[in-house]
C-alpha cells in the first residue's frame, strides 16, 4: 500500500504563495502526471512530497503514514531528477549503492540489489564506468536505478526526460512505462511535455498558478477539458476556439458572425443554458472533416485555405471561420493548396463549449 495523499498543502516563498490549500491523491500503483507550464508549482509540489522543501501548512501521507515532518530518506520515496544528479566522482555501481552504504546494508545484500537494478535497466556493462563516460540516456537510466535499489514504494520523477534529445526521449518514455508495468509502484511524474503526460499517465493533474485545473484520465482531459486553459494547453496543434454566443432553449444553437451551429448532439455539463450566453466553441483540428465527408456532418461550411503546413504524418491547413483562425488536420495524401476553396464540417458533439466569461465548460 503506497497511496500518496496531499492534504490542504500551503507553500509560500516569502510573500509569494505558490500553493494554497492543495489537495491531491495518487492511488497505490497509480502513474500520476503533474502537467503544467513552467512556474505553475508542479515541481514545488513534487519537492514537498519528497520532503526536500519546507511546507507552510497541510499534511502529506505516504502509505497511510503521516510523513509531513519526516526526512526524505524516511518517506519511502526515490527521486529522479532532470539533471540526473549522479555523483560524478563515483562509478555507476557506487552511485547505485550509495544510499544502501549510507544506510549500512550488508555487502552481499547491496550486491544483490545492485545486480537486480542493473538487470532491470540493462546497465550491467556500465557498472564500472563514471557518469562522465555515459550518454544522456544511460545516465538517466542509472538515476532511475538509484531509486530502484532502495526498494521504495513511490517513485518521484522531476522532468526526467527534458535533457534528452527527441529520439531518446521517446525510447526512455516507453521504458519508464514498461518499468511501471513491471514494478507496479506508485509513480508521480512532473513534466511540461503533454505527449509524455498523455502516454504515461493513468491520471493527469493539469496545474496552473498553483491550482489543479483538472485531475482526470488522459482521455477525458483531451476530450472533455473542464475549462479553456486545459483545452488550450493540451493538443498540438491547439484546439480551435470560436467566440460567439449560445441561444438556449429546446434546440440550443451556437452563433458567431456568419455562422450558426446546431448543438443537438452536444452533451452539456448540467442543463443547457436558457437565454443568450456568451460562449466559446472549441473544436480539435483532427475532428474537422473536409469535402464530401464534411457534407454529411451536422455542421458544414465553405472556407478558403490560408496556409498549408505538411507535417509528414499529416497535414495542417489554416483557414478562417467566422473571421477567426481555424486549423484543420487531415491525411497527408490529400493535396491541399493555399487559396483553395474547401468545404469544412464538424460534429459539435465532439467539440467543447465554454462560458466566455468564466472559461468553464458548459
Amino acid at each position: 500500500m503506497a497511496q500518496v495523499s496531499v492534504r490542504d498543502l500551503d507553500i509560500s516563498f516569502g510573500a509569494v504563495k505558490v500553493l494554497q490549500k492543495l489537495n491531491v491523491t495518487a492511488e497505490d500503483g497509480e502513474f500520476l502526471v503533474l502537467l503544467g507550464p513552467s512556474g505553475c508549482g508542479k515541481s514545488t509540489l513534487l519537492n514537498a512530497i519528497a520532503g526536500l522543501l519546507d511546507i507552510n501548512g497541510g499534511q502529506i501521507f505516504i502509505g497511510g503514514k503521516n510523513v509531513t515532518w519526516e526526512e526524505p530518506k524516511d518517506r519511502g520515496i526515490g527521486m529522479v531528477f532532470q539533471s540526473y544528479a549522479l555523483y560524478p566522482q563515483m562509478t555507476v555501481e557506487k552511485n547505485l549503492s550509495f544510499a544502501l552504504r549510507v544506510a549500512g546494508f550488508k555487502r552481499d545484500e547491496i550486491a544483490t540489489r545492485v545486480a537486480r537494478a542493473a538487470e532491470i535497466l540493462q546497465i550491467g556493462p556500465l557498472l564500472q564506468r563514471k557518469p562522465a563516460n555515459l550518454s544522456g540516456g544511460q545516465r538517466q537510466r542509472v538515476a532511475i536505478g538509484r531509486a530502484l535499489v532502495r526498494d521504495v514504494d513511490v517513485f518521484l520523477f522531476d522532468e526526467p526526460l527534458s535533457n534528452l534529445d527527441a529520439k531518446l526521449r521517446g525510447e526512455l518514455r516507453v521504458e519508464i512505462k514498461r518499468l511501471h508495468h513491471r514494478l507496479r509502484n506508485t509513480m508521480i511524474y512532473v513534466t511540461h511535455d503533454q505527449v509524455e503526460a498523455m502516454t504515461l499517465a493513468n491520471r493527469i493533474a493539469i496545474m496552473r498558478d498553483g491550482v489543479i485545473q483538472q485531475l482526470d484520465t488522459p482521455h477525458n482531459i483531451y476530450h472533455r477539458p473542464v475549462n479553456l486553459f486545459v483545452a488550450g494547453f493540451i493538443g498540438s496543434p491547439g484546439m480551435n476556439f470560436i467566440s460567439g454566443e449560445i441561444a438556449g432553449g429546446a434546440h440550443p444553437v451556437f452563433t458567431a458572425p456568419g455562422l450558426s451551429v446546431p448543438l443537438a448532439g452536444y452533451q452539456f455539463d448540467g442543463s443547457p443554458p436558457s437565454g443568450k450566453v456568451a460562449a466559446v466553441l472549441g473544436i480539435r483540428p483532427e475532428h474537422v472533416s473536409i469535402r464530401d465527408a464534411a457534407a454529411a456532418l451536422p455542421f458544414s461550411t465553405d472556407s478558403e485555405i490560408d496556409i498549408v503546413e505538411p507535417m509528414g504524418s499529416d497535414t495542417v491547413a489554416w483557414a478562417k471561420l467566422a473571421d477567426q483562425s481555424f486549423t484543420i488536420r487531415c491525411d497527408s495524401e490529400i493535396a491541399l493548396e493555399a487559396g483553395q476553396k474547401l468545404r469544412l464540417g464538424f460534429d459539435p458533439a465532439r467539440g467543447s463549449l465554454f462560458n466566455a466569461e468564466t472559461g468553464n465548460r458548459l
Binding site: P72, M79, P131, R146
Partner: protein, 304 residues
C-alpha cells in the same frame, strides 16, 4: 565573363577559396617584439639574483652586474642556509625554513577545511542568518590588517596563545577565511542543487554529504585555495613577526634579519642566495600546479 567562369567551374587565382592564408604582418612582428622585450625586462631581476648568488664577493664587486660568473660557486647558497647571521645567531636560514613549514602546513590544512565546510553550509543549508553571516565574512576581507593587529594580540594573550605556534596558525586561518569561503561558496553554488537533493533522498546527512559527495568534487577549487594559502602564508612577514614569537619566526623574518645587517659590506652573494631559497617554495608550487590553478579558476563555469 565572371559568371561564365563560375558556371564552368574555373576559379580566378586570387579568388578566396578554402582556409584563410596566414600572413606575417608588420603589426604581428611589432606585437611579438613588444612581448619578448617585456618578458626580458621582467626576467632581468631574477637573472641578476641567480648569477649574483653564484659569484664570490670579490667578483661581484669587480665585475659587471649582468656578467655571467667567471668562477661559479655554490658557497653563498650553503652559507645562506647554514651560516648566515641573524643578529647574534649564525645558523643561516634553515631554522626559519622549518618554522615556516610548521606554520604553513597546519594553517593551510585547517583554513581550507574550515572554509570549505563553511562554504558548503552556506550554499546548501539555508539556515537562518546565513546571508548575514556570509556578508559579515566577506566584509572581513576589506578590514585593513593594521586596525586589528593590537586587538588580536590582546585576544591571543587572553587565551594564552600569543607567541605560540597554534596562535599564528589560528591567525592565518582566520585571515584566510573571507577569501576562501567566498571561493568555496561560489564553487558549491555552481554545482547543481539536485546533487544535494539526491544525496538527501539517499539518506546522507550534513557530514556524509560533505565528506562523500561535495569534498571529492572540490578538487579543482581546493587546488586554487591551496596555492593561494601556501603562497600567502609562506610569504607572510607581518603576522609572523608579531604573533609567532621569536622561537617560531618564519623564514621571511629571518631573511630580513640576514639582509638588513648593519655591519661591514653587504654580503650580496649570500643575500641573493637566501632570498631565492626563501622564495623557492611558492615558486615550485606555482610551476607544479599552475595548470591546475587555471583549471580550478575556470571550474566555476563547468558543470559536472
Amino acid at each position: 565573363m565572371s559568371t561564365l567562369a563560375m558556371d564552368i567551374g574555373i576559379r580566378a587565382a586570387d579568388e578566396p577559396w578554402g582556409g584563410r592564408p596566414k600572413r606575417l604582418t608588420a603589426g604581428r612582428v611589432g606585437l611579438y617584439a613588444f612581448l619578448i622585450i617585456s618578458a626580458i625586462f621582467f626576467l632581468i631581476p631574477l637573472y641578476v639574483m641567480v648569477i649574483t648568488s653564484l659569484k664570490a664577493m670579490p667578483e661581484i664587486l669587480s665585475s659587471n652586474v649582468l656578467a655571467l660568473p667567471e668562477k661559479p660557486t655554490v658557497q653563498p647558497w650553503i652559507d645562506a642556509w647554514l651560516h648566515a647571521c641573524t643578529g647574534r645567531d649564525c645558523t643561516g636560514l634553515h631554522p626559519g625554513f622549518f618554522n615556516s613549514v610548521k606554520i604553513t602546513v597546519p594553517a593551510v590544512i585547517v583554513s581550507i577545511f574550515i572554509s570549505s565546510l563553511t562554504g558548503y553550509a552556506l550554499s546548501f543549508w539555508h539556515y537562518r542568518g546565513a546571508g548575514f553571516f556570509f556578508g559579515l565574512l566577506v566584509f572581513g576581507a576589506f578590514v585593513p590588517y593594521q586596525v586589528v593587529i593590537y586587538p588580536i594580540i590582546l585576544g591571543l594573550r587572553t587565551v594564552h596563545l600569543f607567541s605560540t605556534l597554534p596562535g599564528i596558525i589560528a591567525v592565518h586561518t582566520i585571515f584566510g577565511m573571507p577569501v576562501l569561503v567566498l571561493l568555496f561558496r561560489n564553487f558549491y553554488a555552481g554545482l547543481p542543487i539536485e546533487l544535494f537533493k539526491a544525496a538527501r533522498v539517499d539518506g546522507a546527512g550534513f557530514w556524509q554529504t560533505f565528506f562523500r559527495i561535495m569534498l571529492p568534487m572540490s578538487v579543482p577549487i581546493t587546488v586554487v585555495a591551496l596555492i593561494l594559502q601556501v603562497t600567502g602564508i609562506w610569504n607572510d612577514f607581518l603576522f609572523g613577526v608579531i604573533y609567532a614569537g621569536r622561537a617560531n619566526w618564519p623564514m621571511t623574518v629571518q631573511l630580513l634579519n640576514i639582509v638588513h645587517t648593519t655591519q661591514g659590506i653587504p654580503q650580496y652573494d649570500v643575500n641573493m642566495a637566501a632570498t631565492i631559497e626563501a622564495a623557492a617554495v611558492p615558486l615550485i608550487i606555482y610551476f607544479v600546479s599552475g595548470r591546475w590553478f587555471v583549471r580550478g579558476i575556470a571550474a566555476g563555469a563547468v558543470k559536472g
